[in-house]
Symmetry: C2
Subunit: 196 residues, 2 copies
DNA sequence: ATCTTGACTGACTGCTCACTCAGTTTTTAT
DNA sequence: ATAAAAACTGAGTGAGCAGTCAGTCAAGAT
């Protein structure tokens, strides 16, 4: 059974994804959820708190998926490839909710120092951490170039994936399907030199 | 001499960069520009039109810079490297105005089909075009792997650069300086195999 | 001197929207 | 059954905001 509170989060995710946070009114969220306007504020103190709940519900699943992908991989390079494929698939399957993350984070909270910001920050740091661990593992088992700066590369990979996803879901330009091209591109950049 | 209209665009760029479009009021823009509130609407029909003017003024310079970087390069690979370095430098030097682009495009106009959208679309397509030409040139002069899918890779590079820039300017996480690491990463991914 | 025009002003308007609260219904405990 | 607590409701409120408009002012043009 779905509680009212869950219904609100689902409705908010749909609308925030479609129109963005600022452009969605609480009245619309209530209507979409089939709930009175006041009920929103019984369950959530503010509109922003609804956004945060949507963010948490998707990011928890996302990070868990990343960790599973890494755990099942046989080498560091395989882990990186698994992460890339997971990302591409996750976005495909959770297009709508993922849009919320892309649209309103981190820009929306950029200039506030609410406790909410700390929650978001922790999540994002977790994601970079998973990538970094995979890179370190690859350096040790020799499937990834030894001269690669790990911290920097982890951020580069995250930036790459983020930018592509953003263009795919929010961009004006039609993108060709990029799945394997991305994996190839990264493999090429990360693998040890042929004659080494 | 700076006209009032220019003063408005400069003020709007500062505020939109700092707080975002939706979170900035026209009254604030007027005050920052040292102009009466009504003057905004004498020069611009709507608030959105001010945003568009800010966008155009920065993107025109940006695209011109990209084209210059490519023109002065001695090979395809050198062109790509020049593009990457240009991007990193441009963002550094135009941090504030570039923030406007990152914050509010393309997400803000995503669901409108105003004529404004077409303007933005043309700009972005132009950027991808410059990258694609550099890649093709590299394939022909042999400085870039021949088996690389050009269209796909152009989008990957744009995504990479966009994602990194966004994290740098808007992100919650402190990034290490990435300049040369990015260039190395891409060179590695693009260069022909050693034994070819 | 008088007229015209274009830049500029700021009080005002009408509307939107997040949030409140006094009251009702439903659930749970005893 | 009864009381108490929790969930829910929706009309209302007040703040904030984009855009308007009647009018001022200064600089040419006649």
């Amino acid at each position: 059974m779905t509680t009212r509170k869950e219904a609100i989060v689902v409705a908010a995710a749909e609308l925030f994804a479609e129109k963005g946070f600022s452009e969605t009114t609480t009245a619309e969220v209530a209507e979409q959820a089939g709930v009175a306007h006041g009920t929103l504020f019984y369950h959530f103190k503010t509109k922003e708190n609804i956004l945060l709940e949507v963010f948490e519900s998707i990011m928890a699943r996302y990070q868990a998926g990343m960790e599973a992908a890494v755990a099942n991989a046989g080498s560091g390079m395989a882990a990186i490839e698994a992460l890339l494929r997971f990302q591409l698939a996750f976005v495909e399957e959770n297009r709508q909710e993922y849009l919320v993350v892309l649209r309103d984070f981190p820009s929306y909270l950029a200039n506030s120092d609410s406790p909410q910001k700390a929650v978001v920050q922790r999540r994002l740091a977790g994601v970079v951490g998973v990538i970094r661990q995979a890179l370190e593992r690859g350096r040790q088992d020799g499937t990834i170039r030894g001269d690669l700066p790990v911290e920097e590369t982890a951020h580069i990979l995250r930036g790459l994936v983020y930018g592509l996803t953003r263009h795919k879901l929010l961009g004006f330009l039609a993108l060709p399907p990029l799945g394997e091209a991305v994996v190839d591109f990264c493999r090429q950049a990360l693998q040890p030199a042929a004659g080494a």
